[in-house]
């Protein structure tokens, strides 16, 4: 299973990569910005995208919209990763058409499981 992480924080990307690859045995591709993420999504065709919400220049929802507007990436499930944990915000993110929302700080030991759960893959 191939997963694309889009986050502007290299540290977070690294933790998530370690967690998903070591614990979850997934193939991980990283992107440091929304632009890069959109490109990688098209070229790498991941099974799932882990998308940070607050990023400079192009934020999560915009990136998601960009992904949805391209046929090749339109159907890739996207899970938001956000530090804003308040209910209305999570609700708002769900309404943009994401498959799920995970809040920071995430538990690296269960991150992969959570992703699988959202994607209904056992």
């Amino acid at each position: 299973m191939k997963i694309l992480i889009i986050d502007d924080e290299a540290d977070i990307r690294q933790i998530a990569r370690l967690s998903l690859s070591r614990v979850g045995r997934m193939e991980v591709v990283e992107a440091g910005s929304g632009f890069e993420g959109v490109e990688l999504a098209a070229s790498e065709s991941p099974d799932c995208i882990l998308l940070d919400v607050m990023m400079p220049q192009m934020d999560g929802p915009t990136t998601l919209a960009r992904l949805r507007s391209t046929a090749a990436t339109a159907n890739i499930p996207v899970i938001f990763l956000t530090a804003k944990a308040m209910t209305p915000e999570v609700k708002g993110l769900m309404e943009t058409g994401a498959a799920g929302v995970l809040t920071k700080p995430f538990d690296p030991l269960t991150l992969a499981d959570q992703v699988r759960q959202i994607l209904r893959i056992s």
Partner: protein
């Protein structure tokens, strides 16, 4: 000048108009001339054409005609000429008959020519015949032409002459216009100046008009005949007439007759331009009178300006004051006059009494005054003199006896004065009603007892005939002064009468010698006493024997010795009796007695041979007379004090006047008034002092109550008269008095209703008698009352000032409203908030400041406020005077004062608070993100390291990493808790309220702490509970987990923690019971505060953030519940909380008869599964195994939906559906069909298929979809206000949306069931089941439980109330704050939303 303008303009424009008119005329003439000239030219053209034609005819005649062609050529030439003629003739203008004739002639020529041409072709070519015919015709045409030309020429000459005239006229008019224009331009500058001046004047006039209109004085303009031409508003108001009504009336009519002459005279003498001011009475419309200061001014235009200023109130005040002064003066004069009355004889006393009654009657203005005296014993009163003021007649002799009038006599003897306002009814005088008062028509009576030495001698009756009258204090005091004077008069008279009686009797002569009071002394020429009568012993205390032989000079006062010396010296010369004189005799004790003596020189009489001095002791009489004078003085004193009190001066002035009066009339060297000190209770303070010894006490001197003479009076509350010479005073006092030259002291307490207000006192260098105390007594009450009143009004004023300053300086805006909800007062803070000046905003409605508080026409402004804002704190949008809006928190309250009911508003600008809230929220949100991002990295790193994902670590490193990881977790929890608490504090945490099984809460909570508990070796036990609570399951679990982890943390290893739930007072109480160390009582409250743990070290030792209990409390409070702890140290704790219970459906919502879901399945276990799913969602269901059973079920319950389980093997959904649809009653019910999705499906719009195996989500969604198939998709409007329903319905009609209406909860449910509405608009306050009940009922209806809902109510809803009111997608709209557009938008949005996304989107709102 204006006239000139106008005339000049008129001339300019007039001349120009004439010039234009003439020019137009000239143009017409000119064009006609041109026409005529053209016509003439045409005529000459025709003539020339005719000549050519003639020539061509002649040519024809002469031409050799060889052949047909030549003829043809000739004919053609002739025809072409003819055509020319015709064309030319046509151009001559068709206005004349001549033209017609010409045309006719031409037609003849043409036909002739045509005929000729035809003939020519027929080879009869005789040109002569042709020319002959033509010649005649040409002649005829010529004649016609001539006629035309003549006519035209004639017309032309007329026109030309006209043209000349017109030319001159144009020229003239133009010249005139130019001349006028020049004048106009010359004056133009002046005009514009004048125009500006005119505008300025008008503006000024307008300002003056406003000034006049709003002046408080009434201003009238009248013409020479005093007819009112105009008046301002105050003028009308002043005269009580509606505006405009007085115009046309004569001003003379308004003047009251008495003052008309003065005013009219003033008018006559008025000179142009001058102002005369007079005062006069005017009559209002309602006939009442008005005293006005009238200023008259003759205006230059011949009219008069009359300015009225209402001075009625001032006049009345002056009148009252003058009256009081007048009364006091009259009384004073009367008393002075009465004091001088002599009464040495019977006639004298009668005359004195008669004069007394007369003087008193005139002074008091009373109808009857009588002096009544007791006839010896106090059982019969006899009228000594009665004066009828009206008839000016005296009478006497009537008697009243005490047996007939016991009450009256009792009152008379027991009180100083009887002031019977309504004598017939007054208990003291009602005795007299039948036999005395009514026969004489006496309405009010004032009786003052005449007393002497404790004995009542009689009374002075002051009677008033006519309407009852109240006796003023000064009148009462006057009456008692009169009574005192009468008593003095009587005493004096009695004494004189006794003297005279003696003198008149024979015995007098005998006792003259022996026992008479008079002393007969015989001295010889040397002044030695030869004889003196025994009565001398009584007077000077020495026996006559001891005196004989002594010189008289040794006995008399040194000052009087001369009289006796001269007596002896002149003894020989003057014989006979002498004039009487007074002298003083020294008594044995050294005192002097005054004697009145007459001397008889009987030296020549051998029988006597000496000078007989006949003397009488008049010491007592003199004392009596002195006392009388003193009493008059005292009466004056009383009057003066009363007078001081009636003047409305300040308290200090009143006290000073009283002290002055004491010093002057009571003979005090020092007179003072002490008052209780406002600062300390037991202290008296000197407030006013007067007299020569004013320095005796310093100003504001203080005396403790109980100390010194004054303090003693205050303590004992009894008057005191001290003679410093007597031994009763202390030596210290005596010494002090001696030093100060004081002999006596008199003091009187000032008491009001048992309260001591002060002490009045005088210190005198001469002895004082009881009369001083009496005088003081006569004013004490009055003075005390006066001080008390002044105190009270001072206190009131101070309190008013205090409150006013509080209001003025309050930080909140304070605004009071009148009964029309208009702004009445407005403090500084309000000005700072709203920006209006107080004078600009007072009198305007509140909605100027708060536009949303405007009321519609149906309710009064006040009722509107009462309903929407009074008695609570509400928030609105305020509007400043610059138009800007801001959030405003107001609280309105009603208060009642004697004036009426007012509404006051305290207002606070909360924009800053809102801004702070917003910033705080933003800050927390930011911090949360900023903290979480690095924490994610740290936590992730630590967690990966600790878990060994990145390879095994050395044991020490692993330990350290674990420590770091654990503390990272704590940090994360702490941040989450802080955020939670903040959200709870701000009410931002949205609760998703449902009915939650207590069991579920227990299981989930225990599950969450199981690992931790096992690790600590603690067992958690709980009992199954059937109860359900209303709440947010996740949040309640959070609370229980919190309490459980605390319990586990503080329980000893191997201990147990218990979870208990039970019902109490409509709530469910959940308890977490442990056997831990317990919570000290002092901490029972504080442990629920953030970061308050029993011991500061707990957080580090036991873990936890110190916020758990605070969060728990906040969550429970948001559930409208309560939380607490009971604990005993060392024994254990019980943490408990209560949340609202969910009561069984049937009992709580009795008004709802639930419609049910029919579960149709042949398989019992499938039926059970489906029924359970439905019951979890609180949907009622009935089961049926076959279609027959389904029919039976339908008989017993209302079925709104059928769930058909067709998933069982060997069952054809198709066939069962067919059966259902073919049954009449069942066919219309929506069906949810659960099938395997393999077999054929029946195409039916009321059937929704759901794939087996069924689960909650799929089933409920399908039910919703199925029920939507029956919906009408319209709007159901529910409100008990039918007018509002009408408005809402019309609003929706504009959007093309159909709606139904219901006015009660019951009707709403009926209508909703009869056809599912697209949106439900629901009010809360409804008859027969309110909004809450309707929502609860709908939640239980499978078809209706997800209808989009708009709560449209006048109430402000709390978060909890909002949760109770949720159905499908739910919106809330407050009536007062919503516009019609808001309403339409929301309804359309809800309808639209529902259409688009069905049920999926808002599901999170629901269960």
């Amino acid at each position: 000048m204006a006239y000139f303008d106008l005339t000049n303009r008129f001339w300019t424009w007039g001349c120009l108009a004439i010039a234009v008119f003439v020019a137009v005329q000239a143009g017409v003439v000119l064009s006609e001339v041109r026409d005529s000239q053209a016509a003439l030219r045409q005529v000459s053209d025709v003539s020339s054409s005719l000549m050519l034609f003639d020539r061509s005819v002649r040519d024809l005649e002469q031409a050799p005609i060889e052949n047909d062609r030549d003829w043809e050529l000739l004919c053609n030439a002739a025809e072409s000429r003819l055509n020319d003629v015709s064309t030319a003739a046509a151009g001559t203008g068709g206005s004349d008959e001549a033209i017609a004739g010409l045309a006719q002639s031409l037609a003849s020529v043409r036909s002739a020519h045509d005929g000729l041409a035809a003939r020519g072709r027929a080879s009869s070519r005789d040109p002569h015949a042709l020319t002959g015919a033509f010649a005649a015709l040409v002649t005829a045409i010529d004649i016609e032409l001539l006629r035309i030309r003549d006519m035209r020429l004639e017309r032309l000459s007329t026109l030309e002459s006209q043209q000349r005239w017109l030319f001159w006229l144009v020229l003239f008019a133009c010249l005139m216009a130019i001349a006028a224009a020049v004048v106009a331009i010359r004056f133009q500058g002046e005009f514009s100046d004048r125009w500006r001046q005119h505008a300025a004047t008008r503006q000024k006039d307008e300002r003056y008009r406003m000034l006049v209109e709003h002046a408080s004085d009434g201003i009238f303009i009248v013409d020479r005949n005093l007819v009112i031409v105009d008046a301002n508003a105050s003028g009308f108001t002043m005269l009580g007439a509606p505006p405009g009504e007085l115009e046309g009336h004569s001003f003379r009519e308004l003047i009251v007759a008495e003052s008309s002459s003065a005013m009219l005279r003033c008018l006559h003498e008025l000179k142009v331009g001058e102002t005369a001011v007079t005062e006069g009475r005017l009559r209002r419309r309602d006939r009442s009178e008005l005293i006005a200061e009238v200023s008259l001014k003759d205006l230059p235009d011949g009219s008069l300006q009359i300015v009225l200023r209402d001075v009625t109130a001032r006049h009345m005040a002056e009148e009252t004051r003058r009256e009081a002064e007048e009364t006091a003066r009259r009384h004073q004069e009367a008393l002075l006059r009465l004091g001088k009355l002599e009464s040495h004889s019977i006639e004298g006393i009668q005359a004195a009494l008669a004069e007394t009654t007369e003087v008193v009657a005139d002074a008091m203005g009373s109808s009857r005054i009588g002096v009544w005296l007791f006839d010896g014993v106090e059982s019969k009163l006899r009228c000594a003199d009665e004066f009828d003021r009206k008839a000016r007649r005296h009478s006497s002799g009537i008697e009243l006896d005490s047996q007939s009038y016991p009450d009256f006599f009792r009152s008379l003897t027991s009180s100083r004065i009887i002031d019977a306002h309504e004598a017939v009814r007054d208990s003291r005088t009602s005795d007299l009603a039948g036999s005395y008062l009514q026969p004489h028509g006496i309405a009010s009576m004032l009786a003052a007892a005449v007393r002497s030495g404790g004995r009542v001698l009689g009374a002075v009756f002051i009677e008033h005939v006519g309407p009852a009258r109240r006796w003023k204090a000064e009148e009462q005091s006057f009456a008692s002064s009169v009574a005192d004077l009468v008593s003095l008069t009587l005493e004096q008279w009695e004494r004189i009468q006794a003297e005279q009686a003696l003198r008149l009797s024979e015995k007098y002569f005998r006792s003259l010698i022996e026992s008479a009071t008079d002393i007969i002394t015989i001295i010889d020429s040397g002044g030695l006493i030869r004889y003196t009568s025994p009565s001398i012993e009584r007077i000077i205390g020495r026996t006559p024997d001891s005196l004989v032989g002594q010189s008289i000079l040794d006995l008399v006062h040194d000052d009087d010795a001369d009289v006796f010396r001269s007596l002896s010296n002149n003894a020989a010369a003057s014989s006979g009796s002498s004039e009487g004189f007074e002298f003083r005799l020294i008594t044995k004790s050294g005192a002097y007695r005054v004697l009145d003596a007459t001397v008889n020189n009987l030296l020549d009489d051998p029988a006597v041979a000496g000078i007989v001095v006949n003397s009488r002791d008049i010491t007592d009489r003199i004392a009596m007379e002195r006392e009388l004078a003193e009493r008059v003085r005292l009466a004056n004193f009383g009057l003066e004090v009363s007078f001081a009190l009636t003047r409305s001066d300040s308290l200090a002035t009143t006290l000073q006047r009283s002290a002055d009066a004491m010093a002057e009339h009571l003979g005090g060297a020092f007179a003072g008034v002490w008052m209780r000190s406002p600062a300390s209770d037991g202290i008296l303070e000197l407030q006013a002092a007067a007299g020569t010894h004013r320095a005796l006490f310093p100003s504001q001197a203080q005396t403790a109550i109980g100390k010194s003479a004054i303090g003693a009076i205050a303590q004992e509350r009894r008057p005191r008269l001290v003679d410093f010479a007597s031994t009763s005073t202390s030596a210290e006092d005596r010494e002090w008095a001696g030093r100060a030259g004081i002999v006596a002291f008199a003091g009187y307490p000032l008491i009001v209703e048992d309260r001591l207000v002060g002490v009045m006192a005088i210190f005198s260098p001469t002895p004082l008698s009881n009369t001083t105390l009496i005088a003081m007594a006569s004013v004490a009450d009055e003075l005390a009352l006066g001080i008390d009143h002044a105190h009270a009004s001072d206190a009131l004023r101070a309190s008013e000032v205090r409150f006013r300053s509080i209001v003025t300086n309050a930080l909140d805006g304070i605004i009071t409203l009148d009964d029309q909800a208009r702004i009445e007062s407005y403090n500084d803070a309000a000005r700072a908030i709203f920006g209006y000046e107080a004078r600009d905003i007072t009198g305007r409605p509140l909605e100027v400041l708060i536009p949303d508080l405007a009321s519609d026409e149906t309710v009064s402004a006040v009722a509107n406020l009462r309903e929407r804002a009074v008695g609570r704190v509400t928030e609105w949008e305020g509007r400043r005077n610059d138009g800007s809006a801001f959030p405003l928190e107001i609280s309105l309250y009603e208060f009642e004062i004697p004036d009426g009911i007012y509404i006051a508003m305290s207002a606070r600008d909360v924009s800053e608070r809102r801004e702070v809230d917003r910033m705080k929220s933003e800050f927390i949100s930011t911090v949360s993100h900023e903290l979480r991002t690095p924490l994610t990295s740290i936590r992730g790193s630590m967690s990966l390291l600790a878990a060994g994902v990145l390879g095994d670590l050395p044991p020490d490193a692993s330990d350290v990493v674990h420590v770091a990881a654990r503390n990272t977790e704590r940090l994360v929890t702490l941040i989450n808790d802080i955020l939670d608490l903040d959200r709870l504090a701000q009410g931002k945490m949205e609760l998703v309220l449902t009915a939650v099984q207590v069991n579920t809460i227990f299981r989930r909570s225990v599950e969450a702490v199981r690992a931790f508990a096992e690790q600590s070796g603690i067992a958690i036990k709980f009992e199954e509970s059937p109860l359900r609570v209303t709440g947010d399951g996740d949040r309640l679990v959070q609370v229980v987990v919190n309490l459980l982890s605390n319990a586990v943390k503080f329980s000893p290893k191997g201990g147990a923690v218990r979870l208990v739930a039970f019902e109490t007072d409509g709530m469910v109480e959940i308890q977490v019971v442990d056997r831990g160390r317990g919570v000290p009582k002092a901490f029972h409250e504080t442990i629920f505060e953030p970061f308050h743990q029993v011991e500061g070290t707990d957080a580090r030792e036991k873990g936890g953030t110190g916020l758990g209990l605070a969060i728990s409390r906040a969550i429970i409070e948001q559930h409208q519940g309560s939380v607490g702890v009971t604990s005993e140290e060392g024994v254990g704790s019980t943490f408990w909380f209560r949340v609202p219970i969910v009561v069984d459906d049937q009992t709580e919502f009795a008004i709802v008869e639930c419609s049910s879901v029919l579960v149709l399945s042949p398989d019992a276990s499938a039926r059970a599964t489906i029924t359970e799913i439905l019951s979890i969602s609180s949907l009622h269901s009935v089961s049926a195994a076959t279609v027959e059973e389904a029919r039976e079920a339908l008989d017993q319950a209302s079925i709104s939906i059928i769930v058909l389980d067709a998933s069982a093997p060997n069952l054809s959904a198709f066939s069962i559906l067919n059966q259902l649809r073919s049954d009449g009653r069942l066919s219309s019910i929506p069906v949810v069909c659960i099938d395997d999705g393999v077999g054929p499906r029946l195409a039916d719009e009321r059937t929704v298929f759901a794939a087996a195996p069924i689960n909650d989500d799929r089933l409920l969604t399908a039910i919703q979809r199925a029920s939507a198939t029956q919906g009408l998709g319209d709007i159901l409007l529910v409100d008990d206000d039918e007018a509002l329903l009408d408005v809402m319905q019309r609003q929706l009609q504009r959007e093309g949306i159909a709606s139904r209406t219901a006015v009660s909860g019951r009707e709403a449910l009926q209508l909703a069931r009869s056809g599912t509405p697209g949106v439900l608009v629901l009010d809360i306050g409804l008859p027969e089941g309110d909004g809450y009940e309707v929502v609860e009922a709908l939640r239980r209806e499978p078809r209706l439980n997800r209808i989009p809902l708009l709560i449209y109510t006048g109430r402000d809803l709390s978060g909890f109330e909002r949760h109770r009111l949720q159905l499908g997608p739910t919106r809330y709209l407050t009536k007062s704050k919503a516009t019609n557009e808001d309403f339409r938008e929301l309804v359309v949005g809800l309808l639209h939303n529902f259409d688009q996304s069905g049920t999926g989107r808002e599901d999170t709102h629901h269960r």
